[in-house]
Symmetry: C2
Subunit: 630 residues, 2 copies
C-alpha cells in the first residue's frame, strides 16, 4: 500500500523525531544529514517496488544509500514504512546487541549494500542495474548520495559506466544540503554536481528536496526517460525540521543532549518517550546473533575440467581464460557467468570468453575502483561475476573496494593475473608481490594460488561453483604441467580441488620445500634433479596459503630443514602463515630459510629477476644441497 | 640552449627511431603511445626550466608523466635533450643492470615521479604546484596524461583541487590518441575530456599534438593565463611516424620484430645500429647499483616536547594535534610543516594547527586518493607534509597511493586516527584494524603505534625530523598517561623516542604481555592490580610492531607464557611479527595466547566492544591469572 502525499508528510515528522530520539538514546550518530535526506528516503522507499513482507524477492527494486552514516534516516523511513519494528531501532541503534549499526548494513530488510566509506554507492547501484540487464529481472535501481561525497572520483567513474551501458533503470538522487563536517560544501571543495553529471551525459533534474510532490514527480519523469540514467539533484537543508538545527554543520555527527531533544520534539509535535527506549536498551544482550537473510547469490555448475597434458605449455592465465569461457558456455541459459574487465582483455585472456558470451562481458575501462564495486554488487544479484585484472589493480588499487565487498559478504570471484616478479619487465609498479598479505586482511575471502594450468582450471571451477568471495592469483609466464613421480599430470584426471588441502608433490626427508604458484614447478624440478643424485626431498604445494596448517603436515616440518619458496614479498606471504602456525602448534623445524622478494624489484626478464632474488632453480638447488650437507 | 622548431622536428625523428630501437632491443615495452606522445615530450622538456647539468635544482620546473609506460618516449626525449647518454637507454632499457626501467622512475634526471599505475600523475603535479605556493619557489609544473587513463576518478579529484587552489603554474597536456589496449578509447569507455575539464573550471585549449608550433603556442598561452590551471588537449596518432604502425592498437605494448624495425627505420631515415646496443646489453651487470640522486626532501626541527602529567587525560589524536601545531609554529620561517586534510578537521584535531599556520593547511575535501598522492608529492618539494585522516581512509582506501609513495621514496608523514575497534559506534566500515598489516606491505615506510599521549608527542616530532615515510597510528578515545613503577610518566622528561626500541613497562616473570597502542595502558593496569596480589608480570610496549625483534627480549619470551594483546586484526598484526621473529631466532615460548579482533566488529561503545573481543581489562586479568596458575 503506497502512502499518500499527506501520509508522507505526517511520516516525515515522525521519522525526524525518530532520528533525534535514536541518536540521543545511543549518544552517538549523525542526525543532521539524516534530517536533510529523510524526505528523499520516504519518497524512494514509498515508490520502490519492495514488499516489506518479502523484502528479499530477487525481482524487487534495489535502493542503495551511499552516505551510510545517515542510517538514522534510513532506519526510521524503513521502520515507519513497515519493514521492521520502530522500537527495535529506537532502542538498539549502535548497540552491539542490535542489528542496527552505525552505518547501514546489507541484509537489514530494505538495505541492499553496506556503506559508510563514501563514494562507493553509485558503483554498487550501477552493478545491480547491469545485473538486471543480464538476468532479465525487470527491476529499477535507486541510488542516493550526498553532495559532500560528490568529489570522490569513484562517483565520476560510475557515472560514465551508467551512460555507456544506457542504464535507464537507474535513478540517482543527490542530497544537496551544502554542509559537511568542515562547513559549507562549496567552501570545503566546490563541485558543480549538475554540470559534472551533464558533462558525462546524464539527464539532470533539480527539485526542492523537502517537497514530496516535486520529488515524486521527478522520480516519475526519470522512470519515463528511456535513453539513459537520470540524476535528481535535491536542494535540502541539514537539520531540516528543527529550527535551531537547520543549516548548522555542528549537527553532522553529534546527537542532541536530552534537554535540546525535549525542545526539538516539542517543535515537531511528537511525544518524548525516550525513557522507554533507554530502558529497552539497557536490557539488550552484549552481542546479537549473526544477521541472517536470503542473499540472492547463485553459483554455476563446475562442468567438466579441461586436462592439460605434459606436452602442453600454457600460462595459468591462459588456463583461466579457457576455463571461464567454458563455464560461461556450459552454464548458458542457467546461470550467467560474467567477466568484468578493465581494458586488459588480451593480457588477462578474456578474448575467448567475449566470443562465447559477449552479452556477459562487461568492459569498464581504466576505472578499477568502479569495476571492483560493480562486480561485487553484481554478485548479489543473480549472476556469478569474475572481476579480472592485473594483481596490482585488482588487489592493491582496489584494496578498500574489496574490503567493502568482503564486509558485504558478496559472491565475487576475483581473478588476478600478473602476480609476482614473474611478470618481469614492467617493473615494480606492476609487480603484485602482496597477494597473500592483502587477502589476509579480509575475514570472508578465500585465496587460491594455483601451481599449474591443471590446478588453475580446477580452482576456477571451484570458485564459480562455491558461494562467497574467492581470489585466484596467477602469474604471467608459461609454465609446464606439474607431473607426479610416475610422470603423469599431478593435477590431472584423478585430482579434485579441495580448498585448503596441501599437495605433497614430492616426498623425501631432511628438507621440505613449501611453495605455491608459478615457482612450484621449479621446486619439483630441483627435487627431481636431486633424486637423480640419490637425494630425496619433500616438496609441498600450498595452494591456499591462508589455510596453511602446520599440524596437518607436522611429519614434514618437525626437525626438518624447511625452505619457504615463493614469488611474493618474503615478509608477508606464506612465511607469515607458516610462522603463526608452527608457533600456535608448538612445532619446531630444524631450520628455516625463506626465499622470496625482499624489496622492490627492478625491471628485467623474469629469468634475470628470479636469479637476483635467488628464486631460480640453480639457487634453490644450491641452498638445498647446503642444507643436506649440514 | 633551447631548440628551434626545426631542431625539434629533427629530434622527433631521432627519438621515434630510439623508441623503436630500445623496445626491439629489450624485446619488450610500449612503442605506440611513446610515438604519439613524443612531440609533446620534446616540446615540454624544451620549454621547461630544467638544466640538464643541474637537474635536481630545487627551483627547477617539474614535469610529471602520468602514463609511465611511455618510458621509451620520455627517455629518448630526455636523452636527446642532453640529460643523459642515449646509448645507456638504448642498450639498458628494461634490463636490471640499468636504471632505465619499464615505467619511468623518479630520480632519473628529468623524471620527477615514478608512475605506471595510471591516474595518479595529475595529483602528483598538483602536489608539486601546491608546494611551490607554500615554499615560494617560483617554478611551473607540467603534467602529461593519456586519454586512456582519463576515466580514472583520481584525475577528476585532482582537477577540482587545482581549480580550488587556483594553480595557474600548472599546465596539463593530454595525449588524445583515442587508442588503448582494447581498441578505440571512445568504444572502450567514452570520456568527453574537454567537457569534463570545462565542467571543473579549467581553461581548455586544443591542438594538433604533432604540430610543434601549435603545442608551443598553447604552452605559452597557458603560461600567460593567471586565473587558474590550463589543459591542452592534443589530438595525436598512436604509432605516429611509421606508416604501418599508425592508429594500430596492437602496438600499444608490443615492440617491433627486427625485420619490421628495419622497415620502420628506413621510413624514418635513421640508421639501424641495434647490433651495437645488443652487444652493449649483453655486457650489463645482473643488477645495477641503487639509483642515487638529490631528493630535495627537508625535515623539521623536533623542538621541545610537550609533557603530559598523570593528571592529564587526553586522546593520542589530541596529543598529535598539539604536537603538529607546535611544530608548525616553531619551524615557521625555516621549514614549512604542512597538514593535508580530507574534511575531518575537528575529528583529526587540526583546528589548532589551522589557527597557527593557516597558510600551511590544505583542505582537499573527501578525495582521499588525490590527497594521499598530493601529500606524497609535496614531501619531495621542500615541505614536511602530514597526511592526516582516519585509518580506513589514510591506509585502506589509499593503499595503492601509499604504495606508490613508498616506491617513490617520499618523505611523507601519515597520521591516522580512529584506528582499532577503539573508535566504537561507527562500526566495521570505519574500524581500521589492519594498520600493521598494511604498512608491512611496504618496504620503505616506518610504522609507529604510540601507547599514550607522551609517546605520541615524541613520535610526531621524530617523524617530522626524520627523512622518509612514517605512519603514526592512533586510536580515538582519551587514555591515561602511562606511568612507571615510581608513579611518574613513563614517556616523560627522561624519555627519548627511538624507532624500534621496545619499552619494558613492567618487569615480572612467567607471563609476558606484548602490546601497543591504545590498549597498552590496560595491560599496565592489569599488571599493577596483580602486583597488589603479589604477582609480577612483564608488560612490553612494542611501539614499532614491524621492527619487533624477539632476540632483543629473549629473556622475557623463552619458556614464558606470552600474551599478544592488541586492538588489531589478530591474524595480521603484532602476532605475525612475533611469530616470524621467534621462528627465525629459534626461540620457544612456553605458551602463546593472542588477544585481538578476530572478525568484523559490530557497532557499540568501545567498552562493550573490548568486552566482546576479550580486550577489556577484566578479560585480560582472568587470562593472566589462568596462565599463572598453570
Amino acid at each position: 500500500m503506497k502512502k499518500s502525499l499527506k501520509e508522507l508528510k505526517e511520516l516525515a515528522k515522525i521519522c525526524r523525531a525518530d532520528i533525534l530520539k535514536m541518536t540521543t538514546v545511543a549518544k552517538s550518530g549523525h542526525p543532521g544529514g539524516s534530517m536533510s535526506s529523510i524526505d528523499l528516503y520516504l519518497s524512494v522507499f514509498n515508490v520502490a517496488n519492495i514488499d516489506p513482507e518479502n523484502p528479499y524477492d530477487p525481482k524487487r527494486d534495489r535502493v542503495v544509500i551511499s552516505h551510510g552514516h545517515t542510517s538514522p534516516g534510513v532506519y526510521s523511513a524503513l521502520a515507519r514504512l513497515g519493514f521492521f519494528n520502530p522500537d527495535d531501532v529506537l532502542a538498539g541503534f549502535r548497540h552491539p546487541g542490535s542489528i542496527f549499526e552505525g552505518h547501514i548494513t546489507r541484509g537489514i530488510p530494505g538495505v541492499e549494500w553496506t556503506t559508510g566509506n563514501l563514494g562507493q554507492g553509485l558503483s554498487a547501484g550501477v552493478g545491480m542495474a547491469l545485473a538486471s540487464k543480464i538476468t532479465g529481472a525487470d527491476y529499477r535501481v535507486f541510488v542516493l548520495h550526498s553532495d559532500g561525497e560528490s568529489p570522490k572520483g569513484q562517483i565520476a567513474e560510475a557515472r560514465r559506466t551508467a551512460v555507456k551501458e544506457k542504464l535507464s533503470n537507474l535513478t540517482v538522487l543527490v542530497d544537496y544540503n551544502d554542509i559537511q563536517i568542515s562547513g559549507r560544501a562549496r567552501d570545503v571543495l566546490f563541485v558543480d554536481i549538475a554540470k559534472e553529471y551533464e558533462a558525462d551525459g546524464w539527464k539532470v533534474l533539480e527539485v526542492d528536496g523537502h517537497d514530496f510532490e516535486q520529488i515524486l514527480n521527478a522520480i516519475e519523469e526519470a522512470k519515463n526517460y528511456k535513453l539513459g540514467p537520470t540524476v535528481i539533484i535535491a536542494k535540502t537543508i541539514i537539520g531540516k525540521g528543527v529550527s535551531f538545527m537547520e543549516n548548522r554543520h555542528e549537527y553532522h555527527g553529534a546527537p542532541l543532549k536530552e534537554d535540546a531533544l525535549e525542545k526539538a520534539l516539542k517543535e515537531l509535535g511528537v511525544e518524548n518517550d525516550i525513557e522507554k527506549y533507554k530502558e529497552m536498551r539497557s536490557k539488550l544482550p552484549l552481542i546479537r546473533e549473526k544477521l541472517e537473510f536470503e542473499d540472492n547469490t547463485v553459483v554455476a555448475e563446475p562442468e567438466t575440467p579441461i586436462v592439460y597434458t605434459k606436452k602442453d605449455k600454457i600460462d595459468n592465465r591462459g588456463a583461466f581464460g579457457n576455463a571461464i569461457a567454458d563455464l560461461a558456455k556450459a552454464n548458458k541459459g542457467k546461470v550467467p557467468v560474467v567477466a568484468v574487465d578493465c581494458d586488459l582483455k588480451p593480457s588477462v585472456k578474456l578474448e575467448k570468453f567475449e566470443k562465447v558470451a559477449p552479452e556477459n562481458y562487461v568492459q569498464i575501462g581504466i576505472q578499477e575502483h568502479n569495476a571492483a564495486t560493480i562486480a561485487g554488487a553484481m554478485s548479489v544479484c543473480g549472476v556469478v561475476p569474475f572481476f579480472v585484472d592485473f594483481g596490482v589493480f585488482g588487489l592493491d588499487e582496489t584494496f578498500n573496494q574489496q574490503r567493502l565487498n568482503d564486509i558485504n559478504h558478496t559472491n565475487l570471484k576475483t581473478a588476478v593475473t600478473h602476480c609476482g616478479i614473474d611478470i618481469g619487465e614492467d617493473g615494480k609498479t606492476h609487480h603484485e608481490i602482496n597477494y597473500v598479505g592483502i587477502v589476509r586482511s579480509f575475514f570472508d575471502t578465500k585465496l587460491i594460488v594455483p601451481a599449474d594450468p591443471n590446478q588453475t582450471d580446477k580452482a576456477v571451477r571451484y570458485a564459480a561453483s562455491t558461494p562467497g568471495n574467492v581470489v585466484i592469483a596467477m602469474g604471467r609466464s608459461k609454465i609446464p604441467v606439474i607431473l607426479n613421480e610416475a610422470g603423469e599430470p599431478f593435477f590431472g584426471e584423478g585430482y579434485t580441488f579441495e580448498y585448503g588441502k596441501m599437495d605433497i608433490l614430492r616426498k623425501g626427508e631432511k628438507v621440505t620445500i613449501l611453495t605455491h604458484g608459478s615457482v612450484a614447478h621449479k621446486a619439483v624440478n630441483v627435487a627431481d634433479k636431486l633424486k637423480e643424485e640419490g637425494i630425496k626431498i619433500t616438496v609441498i604445494n600450498v595452494s591456499a596459503p591462508l589455510e596453511f596448517d602446520a599440524a596437518k603436515i607436522k611429519e614434514y616440518i618437525e626437525n626438518t630443514e624447511v625452505i619457504i619458496y615463493e614469488d611474493h614479498n618474503k615478509y608477508n606471504g606464506l612465511f607469515v602463515e607458516f610462522s603463526k602456525s608452527v608457533v600456535e602448534n608448538g612445532i619446531k623445524p630444524a631450520g628455516i630459510e625463506v626465499l622470496g622478494v625482499d624489496n622492490y624489484s627492478p625491471s628485467g626478464s623474469n629469468a634475470l629477476l628470479f636469479k637476483i632474488f635467488k628464486l631460480d632453480e640453480e639457487s634453490l638447488y644450491e641452498i638445498v644441497k647446503e642444507k643436506i650437507s649440514k
